[in-house]
Subunit: 343 residues, 2 copies
DNA sequence: TTGAAAGCGATACCAG
DNA sequence: CTGGTATCGCTTTCAA
């Protein structure tokens, strides 16, 4: 920058102003400085800028790489950032770590804002962090006064899925969901809401709630679904907490030699593969890309306007009926005998 | 940091040394400083550290979010970085931008190293950038003297796929691949090598090369595959440049009412969905996660030891035979008549 | 409108 | 082994 200033015969301050196109530079000077910058191929160091101003980086915490829903959010956010001078810094919440160290890690890097996908941290802690850096929480239904949230109406989405199954005549509907590390009453992660609504809808319909929990790692859902189906031959449908779990459940159904008339499956998210004709998963779309975009928008608004009043956006989910859900048919005693019935 | 130094009754220099656990601190001092750090909840600012030392961030350029192969690489890299103080900074090469601005963007952030997945930039330019920051190139078979490369033996992989199809009796094998923006003879992106090898294997077998190009965006491959199959009813197999294209091709086959006995499909990558029983795609595994891990390892070695001699690792691909490839059977005149033959 | 100079929060050299 | 101090490259008052 010193070089540019000297070459253009102006001060560093002037160059700085041109770069940030700040107030108070004459067109003549702007032109000259810009020409020199091009000529010298000068590029400002973001680390230095970050010390005084902004780092032009946005942190994005994602729980893991197992669900394509997270990829959708990433994609939406990245697309919204394309063409700006901001960069995404992805922080996967790896291993057994709770979300806290991951978010701290981002904060240490002085990111200008943080998007977090329902991290397992306490609202109080987040509230505090949000006083230092703008935060948008995706998924969790907290009603914070310091950070924004973007949610999907999980209650409505679950009802869409459950009513669809009920209307197809299913009476023994199991729910396959993720085991949460913490069960706090004040933080409301989407999977908890879906489970609670599932139980409530089942109860209202006079059905027994059948909840199976599994870990998030690949393969766990397959095993859980298999066990579920084998252990209770009266089950005719599985409502899975997300598409990743649902697709694993499909695998279990097929591997057991059953069809979707024996065991129907509904997912949640509407990831790309759900629409593939060979998968054709009935699911609830929650528009992941849109959520990513909206998160960037909220963050940018806070960054640019300095807004501090929280905003809470809730998107309405939509049911996508495909062929993984079929009219219910008694399956009792069918488990081992239907090996050729899959197609 | 000043606060810590004062509270502990030592100098800033001492605190700095403790943080970096540099040479020359007595156990007593280390203990005292660490206690104070904990007590005050002090966290060093990475931006400030980046100005003199390292930013503890690794840049990862990925072409787009359309292929799960890129996710595999991300996951491998992220897993390798877990537990260290390094963070991944993901830079998607969005839109029509060539890779250059994306890599510059990362360099501007003083990342300690860059992993790039076959970006469309010239070797000369990369060579220059590599003198400033350690770079590992994934996929492209350049033989650089400044940056490392991790490749998969695309030639061997293609032969595995093609020989498999030939051994099943296929004689009219099309190749569906991505249209590259630039066709440089010196930079060798994987898709170009696969195509060249495809043509060479086809030629050696006395077959005609049938190459169809498509864009990378979702849906383009589906249309291209559909057109290919409809336009030439003698085609009995498609070798796709990657699994994403292959899965779109499967969609086309199914939508046209055909089976894999009419048109077999082989992919490349072995993404997770390829192994799902409902997809069951025959493909070539190139171990994306391993590549991500290995890239981090090479980068870290350069960062820690200051190595400057380039290293080029090549992984051996493996064929995964599943049910999307079947023994060849004449399809001529079948196109519109097989609607019920899919299952 | 322009520029000089004072930081920002760490690192690193070098003297004690 | 310890600490004073210059320094990194930019932003930001504040005078001129």
């Amino acid at each position: 920058m010193d070089d540019v200033a000297k070459a253009a015969g102006v001060s560093k301050a002037a160059v700085s102003k041109v770069i940030r196109d700040a107030y108070g530079v004459s067109p003549a000077m702007r032109e000259r400085v810009e020409a020199t910058i091009r000529e010298l191929g000068y590029r400002p160091r973001i680390a230095a800028r970050a010390m005084r101003g902004s780092s032009f980086s946005i942190g994005l915490e994602i729980p893991n790489f197992n669900s394509e829903f997270f990829t959708q959010v990433m994609q939406g956010a990245a697309a919204r950032l394309a063409g700006t001078s901001y960069q995404l810094m992805i922080a996967p919440g790896l291993g057994e770590l709770s979300g806290t160290p991951v978010l701290e890690n981002l904060a240490d890097r002085q990111v200008d804002g943080i998007i977090a996908i329902s991290p397992e941290v306490s609202p109080e802690w987040l509230e505090e962090l949000a006083q230092d850096v703008p935060i948008v929480l995706i998924g969790r239904h907290d009603r914070s006064k310091n950070y924004d949230t973007i949610t999907n109406d999980d209650d409505a989405g679950t009802r869409l899925a459950m009513n669809h199954l009920l209307s197809l005549g299913h009476r023994r509907i199991a729910h396959l969901t993720l085991r949460m590390q913490s069960e706090r009453r004040d933080a409301e992660p989407p999977h908890t809401i879906r489970r609670d609504t599932y139980e409530s809808v089942a109860g209202d319909a006079g059905l027994e709630g059948l909840v199976a929990y599994c870990a998030a790692d690949a393969g766990a859902a397959y095993e859980a679904a298999k066990e579920l189906i084998e252990a209770d031959p009266t089950i005719t449908a599985i409502f899975a907490g997300n598409d990743s779990l649902a697709i694993d459940a499909l695998r279990a159904v097929v591997d057991l030699g059953l069809t979707f008339e024996d065991v129907s499956v509904v997912g949640y998210d509407d990831i790309r593969m759900a629409g593939h004709p060979l998968i054709s998963l009935t699911t609830v779309s929650q528009f992941g890309e849109l959520m990513g975009q909206a998160a960037i928008d909220l963050l940018m608004e806070r960054i640019r306007t300095g807004r501090t009043t929280p905003r809470h956006r809730e998107l309405q989910p939509e049911l996508r009926v495909r062929s993984s859900t079929q009219r219910a048919k008694a399956r009792l005693g069918n488990v081992e005998s239907g090996a050729d019935a899959a197609f």
